[in-house]
Symmetry: C2
Subunit: 645 residues, 2 copies
């Protein structure tokens, strides 16, 4: 059920789901309500008048009985249960025209899901591992062919299966298994990656077990490892779980982990740690899904090049040493037990290939999941994070690179930065007259800090209202106590300590903004450099795909305003989520994709920004909000000019 | 140097090599000389007169000074050093016409060798494992492709090598090895069995090691394990060695070994034992050849189906149980270390596929080595032994079967039977008037017993001279003390105890002959059954190949006379020797053969004699010397009739 909410005097409307929080609805509509407690209801500033319709809740000690009778409610505590007309008590006398020059409705990127039904309709739901039930003729006088031959011949004759092979360890089990239920068996067949490759029989079970066929998808992040159990019959995700990568205590980032491997048995330690983590994830998800590990036919994993090499127990030293060389980009299918996963000896493991030391399998997985290699639209794929990866291209070609953006997007290098967990300021608007903030936190609790997507919105709103300039410096002449200097550093107070969980004022500082600018500058200039290297311009980009934990909640308009994303229609931006995990999942469900992986890797050209001279120029130019070259951002330029008239 | 020896009064001549023993020369010429001490010089009966030319030795206390001065010598102690005219003092007055009705010159099968030079000339010397030296471009800024990718791309561009793969364990070593000698490496590439298969890179070594590339060929016999080291550059055998199969103490034959595996850890024990034996052989031959085990790129093994399954650690139970089912016939390439061979982790192992429980990889290896699958001649391949295997066919089709011949050919079930070692009576002739024997033993020492090929010749000569009849029964009316009855058993005394090593008379008995008849009957009737099943007759056979330890010294005429081999020109019979070992060697030297193996296995139809009704009839008919159906042996029939006129 959706309802329409009209906000007065802004004349702005928004459609929201039933039970949506009213302050979030206002944020969606691009309407400012003073609110500094993050939606926790403690500041009592978000008083609104319900002129038509009904809300649930919104009653508070901050409202007098009279207010309540008149229809006032606290927006942050009110849930939508009907169409509404809501009046915001505007403290200053703003012109509506001015209001409407404000940013419009909030847009986050639409999420991309893999639609199993669509795969099925297109005949693409062909898992790479199939189970086939066989009622073989029992051996007898006159038909005493070898047990393995009997299975292979039956598959040939009755199931049109050819180019079949079987490895020794399975052959050892066949003679007894085949006789256990009088020559009725289920064969597990792994499809080849290449069309002309071999169909590998990886397991033979007595009787009919063909309905129990499962796969596991695993994203090996530097920080977190996520896994899913998939039912290869329905295509459904049966369970999902994430754990912190057990390598974390040996180094936060890939470089420190590589350094750790260079001492003593460091490689073995890190290999063991990530395997331990994956095994923990596997244990939890198969239990949750009611699957026996013996029923797991295949596992697909993806991670960056360092994570991949550590998992495979391959020394990663040369990844961090000039000229930054990974051991390999393609890896053959292998047995899960070869890398010590707690899976039976018939489980086949696949790991996504990477392109270079810093554009790894997680990115290829995302590119595959996003279907970018099948699209005719020029697509910009961005995995935003400390180590940002960018891929540009379409069905005919692709280029990629990695940029070191620094930790700002993950809340690092920001005074009150934090990850996007409970209490993180994730949404923000500012009254252009009073410079009072409207703040929403994750979980609607008292604020604890600022997360990455919040930081982007903060910077955009501060820029739009002229609180900061294009270099990220505060306008010291504005009349508000929220702009102040502490220890020689200029900052804006987002939440005073009484409304926080940390008993300190939460502020955004010039150094914070500087870090953000460097981060977004690195990303944008990386994209610009790639495009220029292939003779294209940033305006040619037709579609953007955002991957990574970051990106799901980032306000696209804000991201464009600060110059993180190129100017593009919001509906051309897609949020992929954990592209790496999604790629692994897709790989488990459709062999056709799997067959394209090598092709995609081969069509992808890697650029090392360090050896691309134009990158540094582009980077310097990108250290402004949105950019020194405002022609890249005509709409932002027009809006900013209009707002400051 | 060869010399011509003319024997008088027989007017029979023979060409022999320098230093040939004179009694052997006589045997070759089909000339009888009384001699019962096996050629050891102790009986002094083989006195001959050298009428022209000179011999070395032949002087003995059995010769008077006068004899010596006249030119008499003991044939068994005389070596040929010039052309000779030798007169045999014939004690009885035989007609020359009668003499000349005797068997002609002795014929053994010509031996088949694999000619590496011929392989080279035909462009077939393409070992399945090649080493290629690569001078890679060192990684640098602007060219930082992955290490493995660098190797693969170089092979593609500079060596026209495609469809390359590399397994994980090797990838783990590449980053360090590639840098050890500044990106100069040697790649070991294993060719695919199928033309469209993958080229597998199995090893990367620093620097140029391309001249050190070796293979090992191993025949896993139930009794003996033989191995050879091959230089894959020259194609030469560098060393060879055999050891008794360590499984022997757990059972003489395959059935008793299978039974042993069915108790407790019997399978592991027998697997360990044969692996231990192979490792002992490998250790000896690589030491002898001056090869480091690390330089062994590949190993090919062949054995019967039970030996194969024991080596691969696959339960052989169903091989011995009706309906006699092996686990598999084809086995994929695997790593030598997977079956615990003392070879490095990059050594690829191949094992010859079999056809059925009793026609195994050793036979396929022999068939491949003999080139039978490429010939247009209808060939009969016989591996003569306790378990005899027979293959019939040519380039278009092949049929095969196994027959249980019993141990007679290996000296078993024969009163004085023994293996063909020193002291075994291996050659024999008999004076048609006096019934006195001429005996030659292996090593020209006093007799100890009778070996398989000796037994065949004995039976043939006894038959020709009418000492036995076509049922193998002695002619009790002949006037010679050598035919006698002991403990109700009729026998012929070959050597009186004073001329033996065992201090007992060495005789051949009716039960011995009975066992021989059953053995040869099983083999011949198996061939007859196969031919009849495919609508052919025994006269259609154009070529015979004898494999197995047996066969190298068997007198072909005798083998035909007793009805073991069909009647055929001696020069159409080839002796292959250890066909299994030869097949393994061939497999190591030429990939083209290797690619035909699956084809040969697939074109071969296996017959189980037990379920072929006509077999028993044929068998009964074959229990005569040479056969009840004398039309199968027109020449033997004619000769026997002429002799008995």
């Amino acid at each position: 059920m959706t309802y329409t909410i009209k906000f007065l005097p802004y004349e702005s409307s928004v459609q929201v789901e039933e039970n949506e929080n009213l302050i979030r609805a206002a944020m969606e509509a691009g309407v400012h309500i003073n609110a500094s407690c993050g939606g926790s209801g403690v500041c009592g500033k978000c008083k609104v008048l319900i002129e038509a319709g009904e809300v649930d809740g919104g009653v508070s000690e901050h409202l007098s009985e009279e207010d309540h009778a008149q229809g006032y409610r606290l927006a942050c505590k009110a849930s939508v249960i009907s169409d509404l007309t809501v009046r915001i008590p505007v403290e200053s006398e703003m012109e509506t025209s001015r209001l409407n020059r404000q940013t419009g409705a909030r847009h986050t990127a639409k999420a991309m899901h893999m639609d199993v039904e669509e795969l099925k309709e297109n005949g693409l739901f062909i898992p790479p591992v199939e189970k086939i039930y066989l009622e073989l003729d029992p051996a007898m006088e006159g038909d005493n062919q070898a047990d393995v031959t009997r299975i292979i011949n039956h598959l040939r004759l009755h199931h049109d299966e050819h180019r079949l092979t079987m490895d020794l360890p399975l052959m050892r089990k066949v003679p007894d298994i085949i006789r256990e239920k009088n020559f009725k068996v289920t064969a597990t067949i792994v499809r080849p990656v290449r069309k002309d490759g071999k169909n590998r029989i990886t397991n033979i079970e007595a009787g009919d077990t063909s309905d129990r066929n499962f796969a596991i998808a695993v994203d090996i992040g530097t920080t977190t490892v996520y896994g899913q159990v998939l039912d290869l019959h329905s295509g459904k995700v049966l369970a999902q779980h994430g754990e912190f990568n057990g390598q974390i205590s040996y180094g936060e980032d890939v470089i420190s982990r590589i350094i750790f491997t260079e001492k003593g048995d460091g490689l073995e330690v890190l290999h063991d740690k990530v395997v331990e983590t994956i095994n923990k994830v596997i244990g939890k998800i198969i239990t949750k899904a009611g699957v026996n590990c013996y029923e797991v036919s295949t596992i697909t994993l993806a991670g960056n090049s360092t994570m991949t090499q550590l998992l495979l127990n391959i020394k990663p030293t040369y990844i961090r040493k000039d000229p930054y060389v990974p051991a390999s980009i393609m890896y053959p299918p292998f047995l899960a037990k070869e890398i010590h996963l707690d899976l039976p000896e018939h489980t086949i493991a696949l790991i996504y290939p990477g392109v270079s030391s810093y554009v790894g399998g997680d990115i290829i997985a995302g590119v595959m999941a996003a279907g970018m290699y099948q699209s005719s639209e020029l697509t910009l794929y961005m995995d935003i994070g400390t180590n940002a990866e960018i891929v540009i291209g379409h069905q005919d070609w692709m280029v990629c690179t990695a940029a070191s953006a620094g930790p700002a997007f993950e809340g690092g290098g920001v005074k009150y930065g934090m990850r996007a967990t409970k209490g993180a300021i994730e949404d923000f608007s500012i009254d252009p007259e009073t410079y009072e903030p409207m703040i929403i936190t994750v979980g609607n609790v008292k604020a604890k800090g600022i997360c990455g997507s919040g930081l982007i919105t903060l910077a955009a709103k501060l820029l739009e209202t002229g609180v900061i300039d294009s270099r990220g410096k505060f306008n010291q002449s504005l009349e508000t106590p929220r702009i102040r200097q502490t220890d020689d550093i200029w900052e804006y107070v987002l939440v005073y300590k009484e409304d926080t969980q940390i008993e300190r004022d939460i502020t955004i500082t010039e150094p914070d903004l500087d870090n953000l600018i460097r981060a977004k500058g690195a990303m944008y200039s990386a994209a610009l450099t790639l495009l220029e290297e292939i003779g294209l311009s940033i305006q040619d980009v037709e579609r953007i795909i955002l991957a990574g934990g970051f990106g799901s909640y980032v306000d696209l308009e804000s991201a464009i305003t600060i110059g993180l994303l190129p100017e593009i229609e919001p509906d051309k931006v897609t949020y992929l989520g954990n592209g790496s995990l999604l790629g692994c999942k897709t790989n488990c469900l459709t062999n056709s994709l799997r067959r394209n992986v090598a092709e995609v890797v081969n069509m992808m050209t890697n650029f090392e920004l360090a050896s691309t001279p134009s990158y540094m120029d582009h980077y310097m130019g990108a250290l402004f909000l949105p950019h020194t070259e405002l022609n890249y951002f005509p709409k932002v330029k027009a809006r900013l000019e209009a707002l400051r008239k």
